[in-house]
Each structure stands twice: as structure tokens, then as C-alpha cells.
């Protein structure tokens, strides 16, 4: 463990951004040179050390160079300057099942993919049974992989890759694939690798996950290492920065898209706190109103207003609309507001986006759709939960040792008999 697993020393990587993608000999000869390009500095003098036996994460906004750095470590990309030294065998999980031939059987592809990932035929002979078993594909192993479901395909790919038994494993966000059960197996496998003191370098946007699984993190920004150190510390700094950054109005790509036919339009989406003041910083458990301001230049019959709340990873948390709630105005004409009042907003701390839409009654034709138009932050409130997740269920905890008092979460206690036995009470209900 004295020697670092990966040493990145002064690595710079330049990408060429071509102005015209016309890479032809004809054009080159006519122009007398290859296509014009601008250079884009993807990595700028990056140095870092990944200690052996640790799980090391790379975080940063899109385009910060974290995936580029991972690919440089994997030797897929070659940096212009600097050096990357890897101690031991390295394997990269950038895409599962890369190099599978659709016409070949699962078995043939295991050998092929294994060889691509650096396993000799003898190694594969030895591990073949493990690979098949982990993928759970015993019955289908002689079927061409083109007949596999995407889940089976990914399972086989992962199973081969993980059985390469690397000293250093590089993982891009591939693990966000497969079904629940497979994800759990992947996570178990990673836990196993970590327990075996293997080194894992992982790139992900999932800050919660990174905080949990990584020992150390490096935060990349515009191709430079902004900060590196213990995972929790780096995530905290990163979040603090990203949240203040946004208030200056800088919008990353992929948000703020808008479409629709425009007969009626959504002018604004506001979050109002309990006092009716506009805010974009809430606390778990607070009362909040989401207000949609609209105007219709011409009469629009039976419109449907919809909202959707996404977390920072783009997962839809909830998507209420007026039609399902039974609120359908006969017609709107002119300006107005539609409010969604929430007594207890149960989102857990994090950053969320709101989309708002205005549709016809059939929810087929959009008049206006504003994709992830407003972003807000949720800070810790009540209930206070810090073990991840998106929403609190707002439940109440009680405990009742046999023959003792019921202990409630707020510390008060009463006799079990006072509150009535839950079982007998439900029995009463049934009798009614």
C-alpha cells in the first residue's frame, strides 16, 4: 500500500474541435490542409495520486474533464504531455459488453470480450463458470447475444469485466443500468473489491453515492483539479460552490428548454413560502405554494396545467396535474395564476428543478412546456433525515418492548393499553 495505484503527473489533453466535419481527402487536397479546428483544453496540467486500496472519485460539472481523465488512465486517450503511471493490472468499465459480436453466442463472446479486456484463454477457462453464474445466463449461454434482452447483455458484459480481477478498476457511470437486482449485485461486487483492497476510480454525478462509497475525491473544474481530499469535505465544498454559482444566472446545458404552440403561455413559475414571499430556498416540512402565472391570447378550452419536480440527477420525483386533481377550467382567456398548495413539502435536502406545462384536455397537444425552468434548493428541516433519498415519508417512529411502555420518537411514553392494541383496533374496524 506504500506505492500509489495511479499517479497522474502534469497531464494535459487537447481535443480538436473541427469547424466542419468534412474529413475528406478531396476537401483536404482542395484546401491544401486538413479541416480547420480549434483546440480545446480538456485537461490542463492535472496531477493527482490515487493511493492503493482506496476508492477514488472524480466529480465535476459536465465538460470538466473527469471522463477524459478516466479515459487517459485507461490508455484509450493519449495525453499530449505528462505521464500516468499505473501499478498493476488495470481494467475499465466504460461500456459493458463493448466488442460483443451480436451473431456469436454468449460463450463465444465471453472468450472474445475477455481477450479484449486482457484475459488469456486459460484465465477465461478457469473463470468461465463464475462468469456465467454471476451473469445468471446458464440457459442462454449458447444463444447468440443478439437475442439477449438489454439486461442480459449488460449482465454478461459486467460479469466478464469484473472477472478480469484488475488491481485498478476504472468505472464510469455505467452502473446506472440494469434492473434493481442486478444493481444490488454490482454494488455487492464493488463492496467485495473494496474489501479486498483493490483500487477503484469512479466517475459519477451522483454526489450522494460518491460521498458514501469514496474514500477520496478529486473535483475537476475546466480541466484542472480544483480540490482533492476526503470525500465528505470535497462534496461539501462542491455543493456550496455549485449552489451559489447558479444564483448568478449561469445555466448549464439541458435546462430551460421550451416548446409548445403558444396559444396560452406560462409566464412564470414561482415558489411562495408560508408568508407568500417568493423564494427558491426551502426547508423540508415547510408549507409552500407553487404558483404558475399564465396568459392566453385567445380562449383556450379546458386546459390542463402540469408540474414536474426533478432532483438534480434528473429523476422525476412527482408530476401532479390539474386534470387528475379534478380542476379543469372551462376556458381561460387573459392572464391568471394556478397554485399548487403544499402543506408539508417533504423533499429532502438537495437541489430540484421544476418543469411546468400547459396542455389541452387530452394531454396530447402542448400549448407551452417549460422544461426544468426553475431550480430551487431544499435545506434540512423537519423531519430531519440525512441518510440520502429524495423524499421523507413523514412517518412517526414508535417502539414497544413486550409488556413495556410504548416509546415515541419525541421521548414521551404511555402504556400500551392506553393507546389501544393496534391489532384489536383493526379488528374493530373490520366488524363495522
Amino acid at each position: 500500500m506504500s506505492e500509489p495505484a495511479v499517479t497522474v503527473a502534469n497531464v494535459s489533453k487537447m481535443f480538436r474541435l473541427y469547424h466542419d466535419r468534412n474529413q475528406s481527402l478531396k476537401a483536404t487536397l482542395m484546401r491544401g490542409r486538413r479541416a480547420r479546428y480549434e483546440e480545446f483544453q480538456a485537461l490542463d496540467d492535472v496531477s493527482l495520486v490515487v493511493p492503493a486500496g482506496t476508492t477514488f472519485g472524480l466529480i465535476g460539472e459536465n465538460g470538466s474533464g473527469k471522463s477524459t481523465l478516466l479515459k487517459c488512465m485507461a490508455r484509450i486517450l493519449r495525453p499530449e504531455s505528462g505521464s500516468i503511471t499505473v501499478n498493476g493490472k488495470i481494467s475499465a468499465l466504460l461500456e459493458l459488453g463493448a466488442g460483443f459480436h451480436p451473431e456469436l453466442s454468449g460463450k463465444e463472446n465471453i472468450y472474445l470480450n475477455g481477450a479484449i479486456l486482457g484475459l488469456g484463454s486459460k484465465d477465461i477457462d478457469r473463470k468461465y463458470d463464475d462468469i456465467v453464474e454471476f451473469a445468471g445466463l446458464e440457459q442462454f449461454i449458447d444463444t447468440p447475444v443478439k437475442n439477449y434482452s438489454s439486461g442480459m447483455y449488460v449482465r454478461l458484459g459486467f460479469s466478464v469485466a469484473i472477472n478480469v480481477e484488475p488491481d485498478v478498476l476504472l468505472v464510469d457511470e455505467v452502473l446506472a443500468v440494469g434492473d434493481e437486482q442486478f444493481q444490488r449485485r454490482c454494488n455487492e461486487k464493488f463492496a467485495e473489491l473494496r474489501a479486498q483492497d483493490k483500487t477503484i476510480v469512479v466517475v459519477s454525478h451522483g454526489l450522494g453515492l460518491m460521498r458514501t462509497i469514496c474514500d477520496e475525491l478529486a473535483w475537476l473544474e475546466h480541466g484542472r483539479v480544483r480540490m482533492s481530499g476526503p470525500a465528505g469535505e470535497v462534496v461539501d465544498h462542491y455543493l456550496a460552490e455549485v449552489q451559489t454559482d447558479r444564483q448568478t444566472g449561469a445555466e448549464p446545458d439541458g435546462r430551460g428548454a421550451r416548446w409548445g404552440s403558444g396559444e396560452a403561455q406560462i409566464d412564470d413559475i414561482q415558489l411562495l413560502d408560508v408568508n407568500g414571499r417568493e423564494t427558491n430556498r426551502l426547508h423540508t416540512g415547510e408549507t409552500v405554494t407553487i404558483r404558475v402565472r399564465y396568459h392566453a391570447d385567445e380562449p383556450v378550452e379546458r386546459p390542463v396545467f402540469g408540474l414536474a419536480i426533478f432532483n438534480i440527477e434528473g429523476v422525476l420525483v412527482t408530476g401532479p396535474n390539474t386534470r387528475e386533481a379534478g380542476l379543469v377550467p372551462d376556458v381561460i382567456h387573459g392572464a391568471g395564476v394556478v397554485d399548487l398548495s403544499i402543506d408539508k413539502m417533504m423533499l429532502l435536502p438537495g437541489t430540484y428543478d421544476i418543469s411546468a406545462s400547459l396542455y389541452d384536455y387530452a394531454v396530447v397537444h402542448p400549448f407551452d412546456f417549460r422544461q426544468r425552468a426553475v431550480r430551487f434548493d431544499v435545506d434540512a428541516g423537519i423531519p430531519h433525515e440525512t441518510f440520502g433519498g429524495v423524499m421523507s415519508l413523514g412517518g412517526r417512529w414508535t417502539a414497544q418492548p413486550d409488556g413495556a411502555e410504548t416509546i415515541r420518537a419525541n421521548g414521551s411514553a404511555d402504556r400500551a393499553s392506553d393507546g389501544g392494541d393496534p391489532a384489536s383496533r383493526s379488528g374493530d374496524t373490520n366488524n363495522e
Binding site: 474529413q23 484509450i76 486517450l77 466504460l94 481477450a115 479484449i116 486482457g118 484463454s121
Partner: protein, 270 residues
């Protein structure tokens, strides 16, 4: 990393990628393997009818006493097919595996080697069958097997070298394959495959300097070498053997140098 382990690993990969080429190619077709033989066979029949019968090109009667146009044609055609398929195959060897190159590291030139090696397999089978055909015609080719194998090895080096260059250049200049398509046609007729070399060398209408340039074509020497061993049952000219050896080694070295030079940014350009 241990270079010897690296080499073993590369060998395993080469074997597996070659098998992928071979297995994948005809896997889902009814005739399967026979396709790879049917193709040259069809070409041979068509050319024999068109050039042998209709146009009336006749091969020189060989010292072995054989005078058979299809046999004459095949001796050059198989070597040519190997070259043409090798060039076409190499040009897509990298482009066709872009997904792989962008996601996994392995020595990229192995993709070209696997392409050529898979074609070598067909080449060997075709040669074997042709020898049977020649034996039936009464040409005792068996003593020349070793020579044929050596010539095939040299051709493999030659095609690999060209393939290495074309594969990587085709990534940077995507229209190269159209140019190569035209070039191959021209090259085909500049090589004495469908006609005997004497048609050009003995012609009085062709200026001597054109003839000098004409015989510089390394494929001409390759075809002549195969033909002298298989059709004429004679030892090929030493000068021609030396000539193709120099070409093959030279081309393979240049191919490797070119490949190395362009390989660095391959994953980005694909």
C-alpha cells in the same frame, strides 16, 4: 508491465478477433462457409467465359504442357483477391470497431492483423482447392507447396503493411475508400492476371519505358511467382523473389510507422 505477458495477451486477442471475423462473417447464411469459396469460383467462371471465350485471351502454353485458361487465371486471381479483400477489409477494421476503440484499450493494430489473418484462412483453403484442381489437370504441384507457403507469407506481410496504412488513414480521410476502389480496378488491369505478361512485354506498340514502369508493380511479381510455381511448375525468377521480399518487408515497416504516428488520437477521431 511484463512485455512477454503483453505479447501472450495480444496473441490471445488476435486469435479471438480472428475467430470473430471468421465466425461472424457467414454465421447466418444458409451456405455458410461455402460463400467464401463461391465468390472466387463465380469470378473465375465469369472471367473465363468473358476473357477466355468471348475476347479470346489464351494463356501461353506452359512448360508443363498445360494450356487451360481457368487454371491460368486462378493462379493470379487468388493472390489478387487476397490483396483486394485485405485492403477493403482493413479500411473498415478500425471504423467498424469504433465502439470498441473508444471504450477499451488494447493494441489497435491487432484489429488489422485479425482482418488479414482471417483472410489468410480463406486464402489457404482456396489455394488448397486450386492445387487439387491443378492435380486433376495433370500438374504435379505438390513439390512446390513449400514455395507457395513462403510466397503466401510474403503476400501476407505485404497486405498487412498496406492494411495498416489504409486502416488508419481511412479514419482521418473518410473518402479514401472510394479512391482505393478506383485504384484497385486500375491496379487489377495493370497486373497480368487475366492476360499473360507477354501481352505487354512482347508488344511492339508499347514504348520500352512504359514496359519498364509496368514491371515495377510488385503485384506483377507476386502473380508471376505464383504462376511459375503452380502453372508452369518452374522455379520463379530469383530477381522477382528478391523484389517482392524487399517490397513486403518495406511496406510492413512503413505501415507500422504510419500506424504508430496516427494511432495516438484514434479514439478522438473515430
Amino acid at each position: 508491465m511484463n512485455p512477454l505477458a503483453d505479447l501472450t495477451q495480444s496473441r490471445d486477442l488476435l486469435v479471438n478477433l480472428t475467430l470473430r471475423e471468421l465466425r461472424g462473417k457467414y454465421k447466418r447464411s444458409v451456405l455458410g462457409w461455402s460463400w467464401s469459396l463461391l465468390n472466387p469460383l463465380a469470378t473465375m467462371v465469369i472471367f473465363s467465359v468473358v476473357f477466355g471465350r468471348l475476347i479470346g485471351i489464351s494463356p501461353t502454353t506452359s512448360p508443363s504442357g498445360l494450356n487451360n485458361y481457368p487454371a491460368f487465371l486462378l493462379c493470379g486471381l487468388l493472390a489478387w483477391n487476397f490483396l483486394a479483400n485485405g485492403m477493403n477489409g482493413s479500411m473498415v477494421a478500425l471504423l467498424g470497431n469504433a465502439g470498441l476503440i473508444k471504450k477499451v484499450y488494447f493494441p489497435r493494430e491487432i484489429l488489422v492483423y485479425a482482418t488479414v489473418l482471417a483472410l489468410d484462412w480463406s486464402f489457404v483453403i482456396e489455394m488448397g482447392l486450386m492445387m487439387v484442381f491443378l492435380l486433376i489437370l495433370g500438374n504435379m504441384v505438390l513439390p512446390w507447396i513449400l514455395g507457395i507457403i513462403l510466397a503466401m507469407v510474403l503476400m501476407t506481410l505485404f497486405v498487412t503493411g498496406i492494411g495498416l496504412m489504409l486502416s488508419v488513414l481511412n479514419v482521418y480521410f473518410r473518402d479514401l475508400q472510394y479512391l482505393v476502389g478506383i485504384g484497385l480496378q486500375l491496379w487489377f488491369y495493370l497486373t497480368p492476371i487475366i492476360y499473360p505478361i507477354t501481352t505487354v512485354t512482347d508488344s511492339h506498340g508499347i514504348p520500352p519505358w512504359v514496359k519498364t514502369i509496368y514491371v515495377l508493380n510488385p503485384m506483377l511479381s507476386f502473380v508471376q511467382i505464383f504462376r511459375s510455381m503452380l502453372y508452369d511448375l518452374q522455379f520463379p525468377r530469383w530477381s522477382q523473389v528478391a523484389y517482392v521480399t524487399v517490397w513486403s518487408l518495406g511496406v510492413v515497416v512503413i505501415g507500422m510507422v504510419v500506424f504508430r504516428k496516427f494511432e495516438a488520437r484514434l479514439a478522438e477521431e473515430l
